[in-house]
């Protein structure tokens, strides 16, 4: 049974289509990153998982429970860090954790959880006096209560300092090793690249890609970037390189460099071609396409 199963789910707000027939599954035990620029529909999707919003068409399921028809069952074995929340006024950090423990009928020790997310010393302060980063740690703590089978986190590193973000990643990794499925949305690519098994990329409400990071690389024409440094530019050099089979783009970068994206097999042909033109190749290296390159490719963020 899939941890999350979205089938052709759409959401329309008055005139705007926020999600358009999104279709994918997150398998148990994987860490899945949900990527997309701001406003792409990531939070809308998570809101439907939590039944904050209802799909206009299609359905979403968590461990087989329909998120709308059986919302309580769907949320029974999960931990959630939603976006746009605020902590309860007049409750301390410890009371927040206790509330989650009672709601989930778990038997965790609040202090242990607060210690894990690094705010043990502030346990008995009112949570409304916490900084944004501390509140984020607190709600992560609430999510961890009851050893959930699935963690759903919407932009988890919002408001966290670098230490906090690192701790967050570490916790996500620990939870995943324990056997939990982790599903989180983010627009911070390093974070996704560091922890995710698979990613889904959302653009304007449409899911444009779901794959492993390596898979995404392969599907982008091999995704290899060749950076060639030459002694000096020669007339017609770029055109000649562009004409080589398997080359997607060729541009100059700086005074003496060319950047070529191409399939793996074309690398040697390019060097041969440059040699034939009488270009003196001083140095060359290949870069794997970073997740950021792929992200831009898929979402057209630079356009």
């Amino acid at each position: 049974m899939a941890a999350i199963d979205a089938s052709a789910v759409s959401k329309r707000y008055r005139t705007e289509l926020a999600l358009d027939r999104v279709d994918f599954t997150v398998e148990q035990g994987e860490t899945f990153g949900f990527l997309g620029p701001n406003g792409a529909g990531k939070s809308t999707f998570i809101n439907m998982l939590l039944d904050f919003a209802k799909p206009t068409a299609g359905s979403v399921r968590i461990f087989g429970h329909d998120c709308q028809a059986a919302g309580v069952a769907a949320r029974g074995r999960i931990g959630v860090l939603p976006e746009g929340y605020s902590v309860y006024e007049r409750l301390t950090g410890r009371q927040h954790i206790e509330y989650a423990i009672h709601s989930k009928e778990a038997d965790d020790d609040p202090v242990e959880i607060l210690d894990r997310v690094g705010i043990r010393d502030d346990a008995d302060r009112l949570a409304s006096d916490y900084s944004k980063g501390m509140a984020q740690r607190l709600v992560l703590g609430m999510a961890l209560v009851g050893e959930p089978d699935l963690l759903i986190l919407d932009e988890p590193s919002t408001g966290l300092d670098p230490n906090g973000a690192a701790r967050m990643r570490e916790i996500l990794r620990e939870e995943n090793e324990r056997g939990a499925t982790v599903f989180f949305s983010s627009h911070i690519l390093e974070q996704v690249e560091a922890v995710c098994d698979r990613v889904g990329i959302l653009r304007d409400g449409e899911l444009v890609a779901v794959d492993t990071i390596d898979g995404l690389r392969d599907s982008l024409g091999g995704g290899t970037k060749l950076v060639i440094t030459v002694a000096e530019f020669v007339e017609g050099m770029l055109e000649a390189v562009s004409a080589v089979d398997g080359v997607e783009t060729a541009v100059t970068a700086g005074d003496r460099s060319i950047e070529v994206t191409c399939v793996d097999d074309a690398k040697m042909d390019i060097l041969v071609e440059l040699n034939a033109l009488g270009v003196d190749v001083v140095n060359f290296r290949t870069d794997e396409a970073s997740l950021e390159d792929m992200f831009i490719e898929y979402t057209g963020a630079r356009r």
Binding site: N47, L50, D51, F52, A53, K54, G71, V72, A73, R75, G76, V80, P82, G84, Y85, S86, V87, Y88, E89, R90, L91, Q95, H96, Y99, A100, H102, S103, K104, V139, M142
Partner: protein
Amino acid sequence: MAWQTVARRDVGVTVGSRSSRVLLWLTGLSVVLGAYVYPVLGSAPITTARFGGFLAGWLTTLLPFVGVLLGYGAVVNERESGALRLSLSLPNSRLDVVFGKFCSRAGLLTGTLFVSLVTAGALVVYPFGELVLGRFLAFTVVTLIFGSVWCGLGLATSLLVATRRRALVLSFAQVFLSVVVWDAVEAALRAGLDAAGVIEGALPAPAQFLLGIEPGRVFQRIVDGLVTGSIVADGQWYLNEWVALVLLVGWSVGPLGLAYASFVRRDVS
């Protein structure tokens, strides 16, 4: 049970707020104070049953205010701030949240009313009064329901609107309509029809029933019928106190039920 978790947390939060404490103290003290002055101001015989009639008029003014003030922010505050998202991302249903909140707020008000009415009963009985237990118990129960009705109406507005300010305005509009406007409308209607020669003195029974549907009048009619025994209904069965009791129970669940039905269908934005 999830609603109990919600209720327990909400009791803590409500009692922790100074304005709620002031409201509850005000309610309790005014009931006890009423019992303190009743033997002096009331006419003989001094009994706990007639005390109910003495207090009812004041309660129809006080409890609408206290009830909606306790209820109107219950859900909309958390909705506006975003704390509602935390409650609803836990395995709580929206019904758990609404029912838990209602039990918490209405429970605090009815608890306060109960304790203060028991104290008031003792003050009436000692040293000169007479205890009429059955009727006093009936008065207590009806008063508790009446308080819950207004808590429920406040909570209903909390479910229907998106901001705290709108909930407050809507709640006060209800109280104003009920406590101030309603009497004026009835008086104007009666004077108008009387002057036009359509009626002589009293409004026809169906009109009395419709005007009497307002919660405060329903409450008053039950107190008149069941507690003090000064029946005012003029023969039509639907004007009697038992129908009024059904109406009061209807007020306690109807508006809240409708507001919940709307709340559960909407997105929490």
